[in-house]
Amino acid sequence: MGKTVLMQGNEAVVEGAIAAGMRFYAGYPITPSTEIAEQSAVRLPQVGGKFIQMEDEISSMAATIGASAAGVKAMTASSGPGFSLKQENLGYACITEIPCVVVDVQRSGPSTGLPTSPSQADVMQAKWGTHGDHPVIALSPSSVRETYDLIIRAFNLAEKYRTPVIFLMDEIVGHLREGIEIPDPKDLEIINRPVKKFAKQNGLPYHVEEGEWVPTMLPFGQGQRYHITGLAHGESGFPTNDNATAGKLVRRLIDKVEKNYDDIVQCEEVMCDDADVAVVCFGGTARAAQSAIEQAREKGIKAGMFRPITIWPFPSRELEALSKKVKKIVVAEHNDGQILLEVQRVVKNNCKVDFVGKIDGSVLTPPVILSKIEEE
């Protein structure tokens, strides 16, 4: 650990991404994510990387996928309106199994909404924004330090599972400055995608070895030619209309994430061991919830906090266990009830589920959450 430095959440995205090996960024600036583009433009040339401002978010997503297909760890960032535009190509990255990280610093919507106001209303878009059944990994940090660590994890998971990872931030953390100690690079675990030459020039790039989850084709430009397509494909990489082949592909794409739940899903429980009431929240909202549960405990209410760090897949198992111990769960989020749906699905009738949300662009404060905790 080095010296403590003052850093903004958006800056921590870039610094962490570079530590993870990011060497390409394509984007189109939009508040409240703009500092990610600005900082990438400054920092990437310093480490031999490339920054490019594209004409829009659609091409930014395309360029990010293209760079990664050539073997370079790549990222793009946006906010809600731009995240909407990235959805089509996001699906392309899913089916072609090209790793990349897509940051969405959420702001109030719909449409261009409130550009500088916080929101967390892209939770379901992160899961279902791109069409079709597909794998989704989404992570959400609640402090500047966690942003640094978690963006590294986003790259690691993208590489390991060869899939886009969505980094679901909010304005609260993106524009927050805190003191953080930057970890020593040698203490970081960095994962690079598995690559192996396939047997012969016209081999099977999308062949998956027994016991593995993903193909190991070389990046473009390293001597072996192959075909990449957004159409359903078999091991050859060429399009097919064969139902069995298509079904097998989509099944594997979903399973490589869902069946590795234990490796991918992270959550945090704060003061939950003896809790009667648990606040479920994520991202920047956790900061208000943290203060709210401390204030509740000062009043003699046993309150705790359950925070999904991995939003997708949702930490169902841990929440289910908790719902059997507490009397009430309060879901707090800056939207009209999105994580709430997951909580209700998991908790069923194990305990009461209450909700407190925000859709006007203002910030959920500790007293508002506290009064929900106190409600009978």
Binding site: L6, K256, D262, Q266, R287, E294
Partner: protein, 206 residues
């Protein structure tokens, strides 16, 4: 199709044990500084809070700095905040300011209703103090005028303000404050900003 086995290791859930609630509420209130600086976009109040946050880190404290402004970068009302505390900070926004500054009448009129009688207020001398202003103490200082007449550059008003704020609150040592200012001003403006900081400190009579 792959047949990789699902890992069977027990999953580690990050757990923070139940801590004793923060010792005494009144004590916590004394150590936690909630600072809100307001003005017009372009006056540098955000940078002023960043510098105060940097100084807080130099002094070994926890800080959380944030801001709110409209889509327009210049001209609109701007609110910037920094919390400086001895212990880790939960909620990152200022709830009850312990210190408030306004550089424009518009910002003062807009944000004054959020103040309480525990708050220390610093206003630019050009502002009219609202009759209903709730405050523990109100300082008035010619921040904008001093930047123009004494420092020689209107845009140093935020650094003048930083000097005045630390003179009122004694947040950090003069040395830590100086380091923080120097690490955030553009190269070539060090002397000018050093002067602005000194002018600001002198605006407040000890």
């Amino acid at each position: 199709m792959s047949t990789a086995k699902k890992t069977t290791e027990t999953k580690e859930v990050k757990k923070a044990a139940a801590k004793a609630p923060a010792a005494k509420a009144d004590k916590a209130e004394r150590t936690k500084m909630e600072i809100r600086l307001t003005g017009s976009g372009g006056q540098g109040v955000i940078l002023a809070t960043i510098i105060l946050a940097e100084a807080g880190i130099e002094a070994g404290k926890y800080v959380a700095q944030s801001q709110a402004y409209g889509p327009e970068a210049r001209g609109g009302s701007c609110k910037a905040e920094v919390i400086i505390d001895e212990k880790p900070i939960g909620f990152t926004k200022v709830e009850k300011p312990t210190f408030f500054m306004a550089l424009t009448q518009k910002a003062l009129d807009q944000y004054a209703p959020g103040l309480s009688k525990h708050c220390i207020v610093l206003l630019d001398s050009s502002l009219e103090t609202p009759e209903c202003l709730l405050a523990n103490k109100v300082y008035k200082a010619p921040i904008l005028e001093s930047a123009i007449k004494e420092v020689g550059k209107a845009m140093t008003a935020n650094i003048v303000a930083v000097g005045a704020i630390n003179a009122i609150l004694n947040l950090v040592s003069d040395e830590d404050l100086h380091t923080a200012v120097m690490s955030h001003v553009p190269k070539g403006t060090e002397e000018l900003n050093e002067k602005a900081l000194k002018v600001g400190m002198k605006l407040i009579k000890k």
